[in-house]
Assembly symmetry: D2
Homo-oligomer: 262 residues x 4
């Protein structure tokens, strides 16, 4: 950095603004807290202009990418009450390539489990970024990740109460929500607001985030389903997206390769 | 029935008490509404004595089995507020054996999706049975099923607010909740309250329901994870369990076969 | 065709030269036998110049693509005796997208089986093309396909006796065989002769055929392992490769997209 | 052993009769070669009477179990020429529970590969046992194992030439072969000669070996497909089967549990 080199850091080391959180979530004292303020959280869709001029970008975690993009429009536009449940389902590649019993084929295959119920390290990122979208509002976020038997992909299901009268009843309300999401992500090359519950398979190998917001009219809750390929938009793809912006290249460079399906 | 034959019905035809619900959820007019009152909902752990003397038992759906067992102690003991989120993850065998595009290997493999966001047919069963556990309390239940790439198993994640002061803070609160669950299911041969998030693999081929209740202290929410083999406790196994009771056999007859793992 | 349009036919209708074989293998009388002679079998690496000037190209089957490319150098250079065993392992997408019990997730998952032991329709293609490489030699080919639980990919294992003294003993013999294969496929953009047993995962989503020839010195047999993505080199990718040649485009146009791994 | 305790050894340490082979295949000098002669190779169907009176039984490897049972009748009855190809497909649990890159979910999933082409350690067991069935005949056996993306199961495909005139032509020949296999395995509780290519799924969790012999009439080759659950008949199940005999218990004790399917 001192030599003017631009950096996209793919670790968690510069994602959180508050150095103290590294102590409580990661168990270490941050060795360069002065850089935390300077670092830009690289969820491109939320911080594009800052990324463009940044010297240090902290590439987001895989879970936060899907969760924040799913909730950002609703939080920003004050659509929902702050009682948010995030239930995520991730493929095994999210656990990294280091062999472990949890990632052993015979253990992970034909199995699903929840984990990190005491609190996952990606939770503070999610709270930080959603909080920035609506300062002053105190969010109450529960985040539970699940491991499912597939290689790539994260599907995130979000639930939050809609205040009474916030949107119209019936199909009209769903249309209003959908329009709010379409407006929020207008022109985004890698976020698509879709009319049906998305499949992670549709993001296999590409940099897309698919988002489907809808309403549970019986209970007055907003439900948002999002999905990404955790190894592309959730990791290396988003890093390239940020790097492109930092270097003045078109944002989509190298990311338009043929989508792989199925 | 008129000939005195005892029946365990594995369809949905006698699960709901209110004939009108068949019209709205299943799209047909019930042809034998007079039997609905007589039929016993065959979630054995909740209705054991009625099953024992029943002539007609309606075997529960796979999703309701896992969801109701997960929530029953909390609802019955008035532990939680009525704002309940149920997020279920099911293997593909839940979709039946009839070939379909959704169950086609190349579609279902390496994919996860939410479905039936407009309301799944198993929701009224869940509401009916939870409601019976605490009459007078109006529940607000959101239920979203997901299809994940494995053959057998359903993992259900339930979320509900704990009223302030309902349980102690910290680990002590978790112990209180755990004890409440242990007491509720004391002596049950097929329900185990476990100390860690359960794996569907541990129920592979057996009639168990594993339940893990815990607390998200940051938000004051109760989280309950349950799992079953949808083809055993979620279907044929539970039918045998009910049949055993109806015929005066030991409840576990034929259901103690070796657990298969992994 | 009468209007001068160039056609890549992806069915089996023009793959076989002998109209009578359609009767015995496919159960129908060919309705345009006069086109069979004109049609070029579109295994590009074997018939490149003919494809370039062809009006009608018959795109090869998925199994034959992997099997013929694996065996072509050995047959052409008279390396092996004509007693050939071809044991192929295919992902489920090879069965097509039409729902069927065989392709049902719960049937295909966690299962492997051999099928078409009485003779698979792709056998006559294999015999025809290998025969053309060494006219006059009568080949005795056994081909057994297997269905394995994955979406994409075919791995083909070929076994044939090496006549005594044909190659040097020990590692030197393996080097000779390897060199023969390298020479045969020199300059080919989509065939790679590799030093280790290949993984279908390495061809996932790309148009490559990976081939690994080696020797079982204990028995004096040549073993060749090849793999392809059945939906790319085994189908649409090869069709594009042929189309490019027919239209005078660079052969690799549209086929250089990022390889997907894993 | 010196104390008269009966042992079923599940390692490879006492499977081979020739101590020198431990040096060449396993890379160590055998420390108790005097026990090799005494040890009984625990493929129960071939050595039942010896197992019954044995003090030390060497439980067979998973691949040899499926391969030897598939070939034993044909070798014993001199049905085939000694040029044998064995192509096996194993689920990942065969690789053991120790985490490794090869068994990592993201590597093993959606992949198939051949391995140990230079010679797998199970080959000498196979040659030893088949050789004992027809002393004096020199067998030429090629064995290639493959790893496929499932947890349990081994499917083995065997190929060998039928001498001309050995069996009748057409369906009649297949019937003769089938009858020879039925006779050989008459009364066996855990070997079933089946009329169709077997599925590993049908052996999931049980101690069966399913065998399907047939003829490739075009080439005059015998094809035999066998399958087992590598963790049951290929390991612990067979160990129990041997132990039962050694202790004078009914052979099937503890092995009749409900078959799990799918």
């Amino acid at each position: 950095l001192n030599h003017g080199i631009k950096v996209v850091d793919i670790s968690a080391d510069f994602r959180l603004k508050n150095a103290a959180e590294y102590q409580s979530w990661y168990g270490f004292t941050h060795s360069a807290p002065q850089l935390l303020e300077q670092a830009v959280y690289g969820l491109t869709e939320l911080h594009r202009s800052q990324v463009t001029s940044a010297q240090l970008v902290a590439n987001p975690g895989c879970y936060p990418t899907g969760a924040i993009l799913a909730l950002a429009p609703a939080v920003k536009e004050d659509l929902i009450e702050p009682d948010i449940i995030i239930d995520s389902k991730s493929g095994v590649s999210g656990a990294g390539r280091t062999p472990s019993l949890r990632a052993h084929y015979s253990e992970a295959n034909e199995d699903v489990t929840a984990y990190a119920l005491e609190g996952h390290r990606h939770l503070p990122e999610i709270i930080q970024e959603l909080g920035l979208l609506h300062p002053g509002k105190s969010l109450s976020v529960t985040f539970v990740p699940h491991l499912i038997p597939m290689t790539r992909g994260i599907l995130t299901s979000c639930y939050a109460p809609l205040p009474l009268g916030k949107v119209a009843a019936g199909k009209k309300g769903e249309e209003e929500v959908r329009q709010l999401y379409l407006d929020f992500y207008k022109g985004e090359p890698f976020v698509k607001v879709v009319e049906f519950p998305p499949h992670t398979k549709h993001t296999w190998g590409n940099n897309l985030c698919l988002i489907h917001p809808t309403i549970d009219h019986r209970t007055g809750r907003l439900i948002i389903i999002s999905c990404i390929d955790n190894l592309v938009k959730g990791a290396a793809g988003q890093a390239i997206q940020n790097m492109n912006l930092m270097l003045g290249l078109p944002e989509v460079t190298g990311l338009e390769a043929l989508a792989i399906y199925p």
